[in-house]
Amino acid sequence: MTKIPNKDKATKIRLTPEDHLVNGFSTFFAFIVFLLTVYPIYYCTIYAFSDGKSALAHQIYFWPVDITLDNFKAVLEDDLLVNSFLISVARTTLSVLTSVSFTALTAYALTRKQLAGRKIYSMIAMFTMYFGGGMIPTYLWFRSLRLINTFAVYIIPSLLNVYHMLLFMAFFRDIPDSLIESAYLDGASEIKILVRIVIPLSTPILATISLFTGVNAWNDWYTSAYFVNDQRLMTMSTILMRLVSAADAAQKAMEMASLTGADVKVSGPTPASIQYATMLISILPVMCVYPFVQKYFVKGVMVGAIKA
């Protein structure tokens, strides 16, 4: 224990002015980046917990004013928002379960050297990354498949993700073939090998792809906005998007009212504060999962990036 400070001193003495400059600058710059990243999210949080009218009257910067849960109450009272939240939860859960297993299985089969025709299969899959039918033929095809305005449109078309498949493949290639071969000779079935050997070895990539799939499903607004007409089937992102444009108009009206003194109430949620509460609710699930998964995905993405 006593030796460490000495060692520290020794290295400190060797630092040149240039070292100090570089260390200082990089530390400072990183702090700016940190602030620019974190502060907007922090601002969203304090606004969501502030009384809407008070926040409108006095700009908040660091602390919420008149802390309240009214904004969240207002969100919970909005039937459509609660409904969209449940749809988003259902969609994300189902998407992760189905898409990850389907994609992983495909990737696993494609990495087996014994699979006849795997070059052709890979090419069929890869081509779709470069060229597609585009928005309109896809829409018309979904229409003839009767997928428009159904919950299934969230799940079925995203069953296989070719980019995720490539990340899985990069990982599976590193599982020693001898491990699988010897299990085979011991009489294990293909399913058993998958469940007992491949899956336990693949926790990092499974966690990574689950996060990616989950985030994609949770954040997607496009599918709801263009493939779904029924408001009660729309996901939270899309409802939030509509809320934003509605809130813009309502907020302007309210600002006018508060400027002219026509608005007599001094507290209560505003469209802006309700919007911030909704945004926070939308970020929250990712925030909760993020710390546990982030140690995996950096590695997963790096492996994919290097090999792809």
Binding site: S26, M135, I136, P137, I283
Partner: protein
Amino acid sequence: MFKSLKSLASQDPVLAEQARIRFKKQLSYQLMIWPSIIFLIIFSYIPIAGLVIAFQDYSLSTSYFNNPWAGLKHFKAFLNDSTFWMSFRNTIELSLLRMFLVFPMPILLALIINEIPYIKYKKIVQTCSYFPHFIAYVVVAALWKDVLGNRGLVNNFLISTGLISEPIKFWTDPAKFKILATLVDMWKGVGWNAIIYFAAISGINSELYEAARIDGAGRLQQIRYITLPGIMNTVIIMFILSIGGLVSGNLNISVLLGNSFTKSQSYIIEYYTLDMGLGTMRYSFATAVGMFQSLISFLLVVFANHVSNKYNEVGLF
């Protein structure tokens, strides 16, 4: 198959057993891959076949294949439409901003964060910088629209300090749209896009730094002569690959950040396609636009991949 197995079995039971295992394995692998191939045919290849309606007069009552042929009518029509060219110009300009303004930022970030001497602090900054990538674009757009709104955080702050007396019109001024939207996009992606450069930096042999230090190279010289050349390959390949996205726009920016004030700057090809197709139901026309864009994109990507492969083989330095 069974006959040959049986005849094999009578000759050599060991060989037969091996053949049986091989067959069973092959069968199970094929059973794993076939659902995906069918999936790709249904959800990727049939829509590609659906591109034929760009050469037809599609009406909702029919299917993809039995419409009257229209030749290149729709292609001629959109090429003569000034709104299309507006969207085309906006798409290219936004892509150029992405390629030249946004592209260097993750590299810069990775280089600077790499120099931080405090490991824990470095880790925290890095982890936080990835986070915006995981926030929904809808939320990011709503957040910045409000923060930079006429009575938003930034304007209120500037007014309260007396720097300005009238709020700056951030989102209703067409002249500011492209740069602001690009900056918001950068905010969301810069940390995440830096991952590949962090990976490249961590792949540099640390003995090189050791040797440079002994030779008396300072920190800046180490960056200039070791780190930068060490990640140059990655940088060049990433840049070449970004050429592939030149005619692809970001619908998130356009739809979520754009508004009627800034339409002249925010309207991109994808938006035009959606408006023409799902908005005014000119399906064949919109498909022609989309196909035109996909074809150029495809050619650019093939070109970019070719160049990056060439570069990988030969190397420029």
